[in-house]
Amino acid sequence: MERHVENNRFRQEPVGGSGFCTRKAGEIGNFRQDSLGKLVAVGVKTLVLQAMTCADVTAAGDAAVKAVVGEERFAMIQSAKLLVVGAGGIGCELLKNLVLSGFREIEVVDLDTIDVSNLNRQFLFRRVHVDRPKSVVAAEAVKQFRPNANIISHHGNVKDPQFGLEFIGKFDVVVNALDNLEARRHVNRLCLAAEKPLLEAGSTGHLGQVTVIRKGETECFECQAKPSQKVYPYCTIRSTPEKPVHCLTWAKNLFDLCFGPEDESNLLADLAAEMRKFQAQESVDGEDAGRRIFAHLFEEDIKKQAQLEDLWSDQRPPPGPLCYEDALKNTERPSTDADKDKLETQKVPSVAGDAQGFVAAVAKMYGERRELIGQSSFSKDDPVAMDFVHCAANLRMQNYRIGRLSRWDAQSIAGSIIPAVASTNAIVAGLEVVQLLHVLQSVGKNMKDSKARTVWVRFPEPSRKKILQPSSLHTPNPDCFVCGSRTARVALRSLEECKIMALAKGCIQGQLGAHKPALYANGSCIFDPEYPEPGEEAEEEGLHPEWSLSQWGLTSGSLLQVEDEGQGWSINLVIREEPDLDEQLYPGGFKVSQWPTQWWLQVEAGAGAGEEAAKDMAEKKRKAEADAAEATAAKKAQLDANTVALDD
């Protein structure tokens, strides 16, 4: 109980006069959970700002930090040159923590400008700052905490050439505060190439992670495959959906098909003719169009699908058609006791609600959005588009007997968003500072022998009280194609059909995360990122982006070298032709796998006829892994995924 009183006193203590200081200030050290399940920072390690003049604040703050970390470490803190990448949710917390911990030499890069929706948690920003660059405002704000800090802000994309190896080379440590996979991969590669330690952090919902990466000593950000944006097999989307996400993918494609520009690659292109009948007409009664599209999609098309007998079995019964009038009669809402505290959008609507919502969304598109038809594309933030997709997906789930979703859940899956939680960001940013101190102290020794750890932040389950789960750093994966063997296998259907530009864009940029790949084969440069498209200029340089791999003299087993001119990263690709590469599993047309360093072990294990079995096993394993990954996503427990923090 005594502890409790202390905690309360702690929280109520007035902190600082400035509006900026009212948050819990500069916490270093461990977090503990008190009996109320709230986070409190423990003991002397918490620094509280008093209402003082700036100089006093700086002096007192520095003295407090020095008392905690000691003279020697404090000197290290003051001289360390840091690069902070990102000034959003984690970045604001991080910059505040850093200056209050005594860091003085900081540069910060961020691409974004401030949006109203950021203000609820990116606490360095105020309404007057809206539309200004995040990096600039964040730097100005934290400079008020410590006027003697030297903070340089850059409003730009960390992938721009000015932030290349030379730039990274200026710093002692790079600290990430990013929310997207692509930029995190890029910074990972830059830091490996520049041999700079990197603090990696991420948060999704109540989950977070902080880790330390140093070349050759620890796992890099890409040593373990990340669940990337999943591409679903065509027939699952078109005919045999099993999960809500399949129906949502279908509905997103449907929206683009109905209201977007013509796109042959749309998964539902075979429905296009039917849908476009409405688009072409001068004036359309939106209600009527909605009902006709309804009948076409959820009744007639389903009847057709149900007749494809090969698809259905006892385990997988055919879908049931739904007619609009019947749907309207189904006003029952699935609800549970837990629902009573929920927002309306967090509850699953009735089938009638979905049917009406669908028709209403179509009517709106043909009404107030008339002039945008033919040029719209799905966005989770567009309420009409989201209503359309939610209702359409739910109706399809009804067809296929899949449990329908609330609009809230549909939106998070459709936009692959997991809401950003300010507390998680704060914890993650605090942990980054702790790990940063370990990194600074590990100079001259292997990171694995330091106190640096990977720390997971988890939403506490009632059975376990722990929020933080540290684990020791792992050694690099020797097969990692970024920091290890740098060799990967790429299988594709036809060397004769695959253009070199398609390989560069679809596979090397898209799947391997390269930024500006130049390709070399047989001692020549055969693709230059400066000439990504065919043209006279490219031709004069001896480049032909439109040539197929076989025109370039590549055969199955050929080696292709990739030099990334934007990341200082390189990789060797072993190209293999697999005419029967499964289109459903690899809709992009490329299968990328690691080239194991001890490849001979695999060859021996899978010798002769065994190879087929090995392939089968690998496929099964891959499927199982994919399913597991998806299940995790459904539970919103997927960290590091290609997710976007809400509104960031």
Binding site: P161, G164, E166, A518, Y520, A521, N522, G523, S524, C525, I526, D528, E530, E539, E540, E541, G542, L543, H544, W552, G553, L559, Q561, E563, E565, G568, S570, N572
Partner: protein, 168 residues
């Protein structure tokens, strides 16, 4: 390409693309058969420095590398002007540039970048080295008749600006 030399050249190119002095260019030469680019042969251009006698044109030059690069320097060769070697005391009749940083027995170091080589040659254009003559006529005029030397240089500037340089 897997070789150390080609790897370094690929990196040099990436570095040059990212940041190169104004007016210069340096890129892989296309293969003779038009299929791809030769990593070991570069086509470069060096502008005459502003306010100097060579101002007003960009001089085409090829760099040829071997598998021994970067322990050995590249061979740098100016394209001929109207079929004659570039008029400069330190350019051999073949077009090859005579410069200490391009000589492995003198000042060549593996750390020297392509950008530095090009800047070094640009500097050489304005400041010939009287200690290493490579072409008789320009050397003689440079040592005995600076006015005539400058007149000839200026004449060459306008010829090159009009496209008189052809690759050799």
């Amino acid at each position: 390409m897997a070789s150390f030399a080609s790897k370094r050249l690929a990196q040099e190119r990436a570095a040059f693309k990212k940041d190169h002095p104004f007016g210069f260019y340096a890129k892989y030469a296309p293969n003779e058969d038009g299929k791809g680019q030769n990593v070991f042969k570069w086509n470069c251009g060096i502008p005459g420095r502003a306010k100097g006698p060579w101002e007003g044109a960009t001089y085409a030059l090829t760099m040829e590398f071997t598998e021994d690069y970067p322990s050995k320097p590249p061979k740098c060769k100016f394209a001929h002007v109207h079929g004659k070697p570039l008029f400069h005391p330190n350019v051999y009749p073949s077009g090859t540039v005579c410069l200490s940083i391009l000589n492995e027995d003198e000042d060549w170091k593996p750390a020297i970048t392509i950008r530095q080589i090009l800047l070094g040659i640009q500097d050489l254009l304005d400041n010939p080295n009287a200690a290493s003559p490579a072409q008789e006529e320009p050397y003689r005029l440079f040592s005995t008749d600076k006015n005539e030397y400058l007149r000839r240089v200026k004449k060459q500037v306008s010829e090159v600006a009009l496209g008189a340089q052809n690759s050799t």
